[in-house]
Symmetry: C2
Subunit: 428 residues, 2 copies
């Protein structure tokens, strides 16, 4: 392993070599049979279980370093591997192994009047770059998911988890080797030098097709602003829950509590509650009381405070804040139109939900709001590839290009056209 003192030029040379190896590996990978990819994934899971002790020992090193540098408890928690977490990791890879292989699937086909038969067929994207922080399990998740879609992957984990990630990575490459696939299909950047990230963002001379950042807002922001290749990501999830005047009160309360409080730290957690002015007298108080009873801090607009006393006032900043915590901003709006206006202004285009019985309000919500995921009478916390039935996800994207919403195996693919003729030439 190279350390942080390596000079920049050496890191760039190293990264370009990694890029070339990834591109070279992508070709055999793109034509590997489903059986071979399946075998590699199953072998990886087996090696992870067999390597339990080594992985735990490597993780102990990372944890010791983290404690010495005085990292926060939440950081230590994300970094920590246990026997149970390692088993989950192996099971995650086995679940990915059982997903239907998307490569070669005919997505669409049609005939032309001249007899040409056209097929649009799924192909791998090529080389994926994954840049992540302290969670060592991303090594296994991202490596397995990219392989399942026939892509080569370059993994650049956080320096804090480098020992854990390398121990996991060793299990992945052994699995590739056993199945007769190129080990360079899943490469891990062997240096913690930050210049490696810059090199990946430059695209490594055209040898990285897409970058997926996994981590906090500052990482995603850097990747989005500096990357010279496409990025699948969301910067933040300022998710809204709108309670229409036609909402059933019980359902509204239950969904609001779940959308905000089930897990407050995930991107699909609701950050702003919008209540239709027309039902504020009946719905507002029970919802806020249920949230407060679960320990949620309420930051209220003036109109909300006029109806429910003793609340903290929301500032303008609150409407565009992703708390990722037990805090929610609350405003009244003038029906579905008001909700749409508020969301158009403040949303991060990730996920929004409406609770309503009125079909026309739901249709306006669905048609007029341009977020990746819109839900009716369901919690925003369903914004997740697993919950969508996609199996694993590598993240959620809010961009509009290529992948949008949960990014699973299918979203990590491209396509090509296969055209079958019997001698057609083009007239004219």
């Amino acid at each position: 392993m190279l350390d942080g003192t390596t000079d920049k030029a050496a890191v760039e040379t190293l990264m370009l070599e990694i890029g070339q190896k990834a591109r070279a590996a992508a070709r055999p990978l793109s034509i590997a049979s489903p059986e071979r990819k399946h075998a590699a994934l199953i072998a990886m899971a087996t090696y992870i279980i067999a390597g339990m002790d080594k992985i735990l020992a490597a993780n102990a090193l990372d944890l010791e370093n983290a404690r010495e540098t005085g990292m926060a408890a939440s950081f230590i928690d994300r970094l920590t591997l246990t026997e149970s977490r390692i088993r989950d990791m192996a099971n995650g890879i086995r679940a990915i192994a059982e997903l239907k292989d998307p490569i070669g699937e005919v997505i669409a086909e049609w005939d032309r009047p001249n007899g040409l038969h056209i097929e649009r067929v799924r192909t791998p994207l090529g080389v994926i770059g994954v840049i992540y922080e302290s969670r060592p399990n991303v090594t296994a998740d991202a490596g397995a998911l990219c392989l399942a879609a026939g892509n080569a992957v370059i993994l650049r984990g956080g320096s804090d988890s480098i020992n854990s990630s390398q121990a996991i990575h060793a299990c992945l490459t052994r699995g590739l080797k056993d199945a007769g696939l190129p080990e360079a299909a899943i490469q891990m950047v062997p240096t913690t030098d930050r210049a490696a990230v810059g090199a990946m963002l430059s695209g490594l001379n055209g040898n990285v097709d897409v970058i997926v950042p996994r981590g906090g807002k500052s990482l995603v922001a850097r990747v989005q602003s500096e990357a010279r290749v496409p990025v699948f990501a969301h910067l933040e999830g300022i998710c809204h829950l709108y309670i229409d005047k036609t909402a059933k009160l019980d359902m509204a309360v239950e969904i609001a509590v779940n959308a905000k409080m089930r897990r407050t730290g995930i991107c699909g957690s609701a950050e702003t509650l919008l209540v239709d002015r027309a039902c504020a007298s009946t719905h507002l108080k029970p919802i806020l009381e249920a949230l407060a009873a679960k320990g949620c801090e309420i930051r209220a607009s003036e109109a909300v405070m006029a109806l429910v006393p003793n609340l903290k006032a929301a500032t303008e900043e609150d409407w565009s804040t992703e708390y990722l915590d037990a805090i929610i901003s609350v405003a009244l709006v003038d029906g579905i139109g008001g909700a749409i206006e508020h969301i158009a202004r403040y949303s991060s285009n990730h996920t929004e939900a409406i609770v309503a019985e009125d079909v026309s309000a739901v249709e306006r919500f669905f048609n007029e709001i341009d977020s990746a995921i819109l839900l009716h009478n369901a919690s925003t916390q369903f914004a997740d590839g697993g919950e969508f039935g996609m199996g694993a996800e590598i993240g959620i994207a809010t961009g509009k290009m290529h992948a949008r919403g949960p990014v699973g195996v299918e979203q990590l693919t491209s396509f090509k056209y296969r055209v079958r003729g019997n001698g057609q030439v083009r007239p004219g």
Copy 2:
């Protein structure tokens, strides 16, 4: 109209305003009914026919300028509008008007065990930037195609055709207005200052979602290297035609002549002919003679020259040259494997064709070559959105992200998820 002497800061301010107006227009456009978009397109076509004299007068100005600056005859031809070309332009818009509106189409839908019903629905991309050169008809084609997909568009035409393009653009905005759509849905950059292009490539503060360059290689190269937003384009079309030993000779001859000579200046024209060594003694000479008879210059590998005397020798550079002219490079290869290797090395991933009767050779060609379009027993010149049945196309993309191959109305869209529940909350 601002002229080329405007200072850079003023141009940038102007462009940012154009970007904001485009983004603002994109929202009403995204929810406009199919009928309204249809009405706008039909009105545009009507105004173009009604404005024939004005458009021809504007074009005469551009032609006068071009002749004064001593432009080449091919350039003058691309720039020239005639009554018949203007009628074609109007008919092109009418054809786009009759395409099925892609927006709101449910691309996929499924149910989850918890009762959630998930739909993936087509939405507009947002704002498209189109940068083109001397062909004034791109103004109409691109404007109409972007509108049909519910997108706002910013058109930046070449300075040589600015008068023609502005006359056409005036017809488009009148059509938008008549249909009650925002005129800013189709904006034309009113300055020929080159700083306007740089501003568009920067993405105009997030107000351009994708750039489509239409023009020569140097334009596309600049756009691809400088754009900070996704680009739908192909830099070049180094298209290969492979004649397998199992090819029917008549078909091979006919397809080779059509693939190269039907039109030599289009991106789907074949630039390299690969002939299976196993059929060189029977197939090579008749194919080369047929090409030569049509006036095609042959640049041959040594092995080809050994079989057919008096040919010009190909250099290494020829294998990666897009002639866009009546020239073809010819090599012998060792069967389908050799063809795949040659194409992997030199192709621009645009379009490749195989002539063969052997199904297994065709399957290898289709599986192992990663170009946007692969054809069996058909001419490479079918690489075209119209020939694919997509109606109009805005270009052909060789990138793997989002759009690939012909870029038609459907490829100018994104999607979102609509999830319908009846009170579901997420457990755990």
